[in-house]
Amino acid sequence: MSFLQSLSQRDRVFDFMAPQASPVDVRHGPILYLEDVTVSFDGFKAINNLNLTIDDGELRCIIGPNGAGKTTMMGIITGKTRPNSGSVWFGSRHNLLQMNEPEIASLGIGRKFQKPTVFEALSVFENLELAMAADKRIFPTLTARMTGEIKDRIDEVLETIGLAALRHQLAGILSHGQKQWLEIGMLLMQRPRLLLVDEPVAGMTEQEMERTAELLTGLAGKQSVVVVEHDMGFVRSIARQVTVLHQGSVLAEGTMDQVASDPKVVEVYLGADDEEAA
């Protein structure tokens, strides 16, 4: 049964291989639903009855103190972590809980990790080449040739992330901030419908942060973007809609100002003011 299922799913993936035509059904509004999701590690509930909806084209920031379950939530959406209960839907057609990581990725969900992970032994150019939406089965990959079209696409993204001059450098020698951008660039190469970005500005300088903010706000509208961030200043600078997580469930939702004045949030998030000040 599950074998048949995997067959049918593989078939479904094939028509998404054409990058532009994402089959995600957003006619009913939201692009991502999480409903009553619970995850526990050894009895500890990292996510507790979490409900979350992201609209198509939205830029959403998710904040919350340490251990609020932000990273675990990303893991659930991308198929890395399996919840104990609940349901996760991408558009109104795809049940993410029945898919594995590559399937979810080819569906158009891209994730940037908390710790920047780029392929250090490959060049910047090659990193983007691998990320590009393409037929990712074995033989097409083996026989893949470099065409002008692909090169143009990579050049375009290189410009966007400002790494055009470093295209032939090994990714391993990039600075921390450059790695973050390269990773965002890799996400862009996938032409995702939904971008999950985990702490994009950790360890960045002031200027780098500004550039990143521009980059992300520029993406919203074309793509849906979910940003998990600790840095309140950064969140304030990009966010339209903010969700506060606490102990694995949603504590408050609204604009930054609404959320910041919510007494519940102030109570659990006392550190917020300090961080903003810093």
């Binding site: 590690f41 050894d42 500890f44």
Partner: protein, 538 residues
């Protein structure tokens, strides 16, 4: 044959205990001129076997206290006749010149050439007769062990003439074991004569001769006896099956305890430091060779040497471990596959060192007396003592390691470093020191395993190699970084192996276990007891 036996027994009984008592008081009497005894022995030197047989009966019927010695030396082929006609007992027939003693007086006569001696020959039938005869004589021996052996010997050998005196003997016997055996011997006689009560008596016994007697009865003419015997046989078979199961379990646990000993040190170094120590087996080998060296240093005291090797083996292996850690592993932090290769190189060097430095051949390690022999539970189950000691030793080592990990400062630091090296370091734990101590501990335990192994297998340069893959399997099967997992995995793999062996053979059993683990790892990549939670997610 049975007739002779019972005749002899009858005579002895008629003479009563007084005979033996008298014989004992007479033991110092001068027998140099002893025509009666000489005549008895002369009869033994007859040319035909039936005549010799009669002579044996005659000896039994005589009240001579030397009867048993004569019969025993005749059985062993040591009763010989010198050229001058004297009967002598050969004391040691290993060399060219044999030391002998006079068969009549027991006085030593110095050495004689084998060419001057003539052995009194016997055949198989006589050998059997002699054994039974000795058994009968022994029933009166003051030595309990002798009485036990002889009573066992009588199982299935009782006939009409023996039966009645035997029940009197049973009543007089003080030792419970002898009494039980004699009762069983009598019961077999009863079954053979169609007495149902005999079957009842035999019901619980596991001795093979009892089973032979019962199955004969089960195929006999008397339907009542046959049914009863069949029933008794079924319950005996069941009992035997349980005992065989227990034996398999014991062997399995024993093998498992060896695996646990071999693997637990590995579990520490692998689990805590992420180091794949391929030289672990060779550290075990060092422990085993330490035992050998200790016994060379203390000749004649293998037991003391073995006890001393426990701390010595630990120290030797631990020091070697520290040398490996400081010399190689510290340069390979965070590169587990490279440590695997480097320590493999070390294992080759250590093996070759032993081969050229000591010998490529196996060394003999003596098992002290208190560890040899076995614990007899019943007729079908006896547990060898050395394996039991090793099993106990493994459990003690495991418990001590558990204590060290749970209750000491070192254990706390080790656990801290395992979970988060950077954090532990920032809290003032000297991670380098913890690494050294951990590696020394793991290696030392390997040394202990070697000491234990020296009591079970050959001590040679390849000793470690034979265990390294198995030990890794145990660690991986149990779940890395989990001592309980190692214990459970080691013991269960040992038992699985022993359960498979009877029907698959040793090699195939091992292959099956390996394939099983390979498949198991696919199903549960983190072993039986995986580490859970966030740390394991990464």
């Amino acid at each position: 044959m049975r007739r002779f036996l019972s005749l002899g027994l009858l005579c002895l009984l008629l003479l009563g205990i007084t005979v033996t008592a008298q014989a004992q008081t007479d033991s110092t009497a001068d027998t140099t001129d002893d025509p009666a005894a000489l005549e008895l022995l002369e009869a033994l030197d007859a040319s035909s076997y039936p005549a010799k047989s009669a002579a044996i009966v005659a000896i039994l019927q005589s009240d001579d206290k030397r009867a048993r010695d004569w019969l025993q030396s005749l059985l062993d082929g040591r009763l010989q006749r010198a050229d001058d006609g004297r009967f002598v007992v050969v004391l040691d027939n290993s060399g060219r010149e044999w030391p002998v003693a006079d068969a009549l007086t027991g006085d030593p006569l110095g050495e004689m050439s084998r060419r001057d001696l003539d052995r009194i020959g016997i055949n198989n039938a006589l050998r059997n007769q002699l054994r039974s005869a000795i058994a009968v004589v022994d029933l009166y021996s003051p030595d309990v062990e002798r009485r036990r052996t002889s009573a066992t010997r009588l199982l299935g050998e009782v006939d009409d003439e023996l039966a009645e005196p035997l029940s009197e003997l049973i009543a007089e016997e003080e030792d419970a074991q002898v009494q039980r055996r004699l009762t069983q011997a009598l019961a077999i006689y009863q079954v053979e004569n169609g007495q149902l009560e005999g079957v009842e008596t035999l019901r619980g016994s596991l001795h093979p001769r009892v089973r032979v007697a019962l199955s004969r009865a089960a195929n006999g003419d008397d339907p009542i006896i046959a049914d009863a015997a069949n029933e008794a046989l079924v319950s005996i078979e069941q009992n035997l099956k349980i005992n065989r199961g227990l034996e398999t379990l014991y062997f399995g646990l024993s093998l498992g305890s060896v695996l646990v000993l071999a693997a637990i040190g590995l579990a520490i170094t692998f689990g805590v430091m992420g180091v794949i120590n391929m030289a672990h087996g060779e550290l075990m080998m060092l422990g085993a060779y330490t035992t050998w060296a200790m016994q060379q240093l203390l000749p004649g005291q293998p037991g003391l040497a073995l006890l001393l090797s426990i701390p010595a083996g630990f120290m030797v292996a631990a020091l070697a471990g520290i040398a490996i850690e400081r010399g190689v592993i510290q340069f390979l932090k965070g590169r587990p596959l490279e440590t695997l290769l480097a320590t493999f190189g070390i294992s080759l060097i250590l093996q070759q060192l032993v081969r050229t430095g000591i010998s490529p051949l196996n060394r003999t390690v003596i098992t002290p007396e208190w560890m040899s022999g076995s614990l007899v539970v019943n007729d079908a189950l006896s547990l060898t003592l050395n394996r039991m000691y090793v099993l106990g030793f493994a459990l003690v080592v495991f418990a001590s390691l558990m204590l060290i990990m749970r209750r000491t400062r070192l254990g706390l630091e080790v656990r801290a470093v395992t979970q988060n090296r950077a954090m532990a370091r920032s809290m003032g734990i000297r991670a380098t020191r913890v690494d050294i101590m951990t590696f020394a501990l793991g290696s030392g335990v390997a040394g202990l395993a070697g000491v234990a192994l020296s009591q079970l297998t050959n001590v040679g340069p390849n000793l470690g190699q034979n265990y390294i893959i198995d030990s890794f399997m145990v660690v991986v099967f149990g779940g890395v970084g989990n001592l309980w997992g190692t214990l459970v995995a080691g013991l269960s793999l040992g038992v699985i192996n022993q359960v498979l062996e009877p029907w698959a053979g040793a090699v195939l059993a091992k292959i099956i276990v390996l394939v099983f683990i390979i498949l198991f790892i696919q199903k549960r990549p983190r072993g039986l007891f995986p580490q859970k939670g966030r740390a394991a997610e990464g």
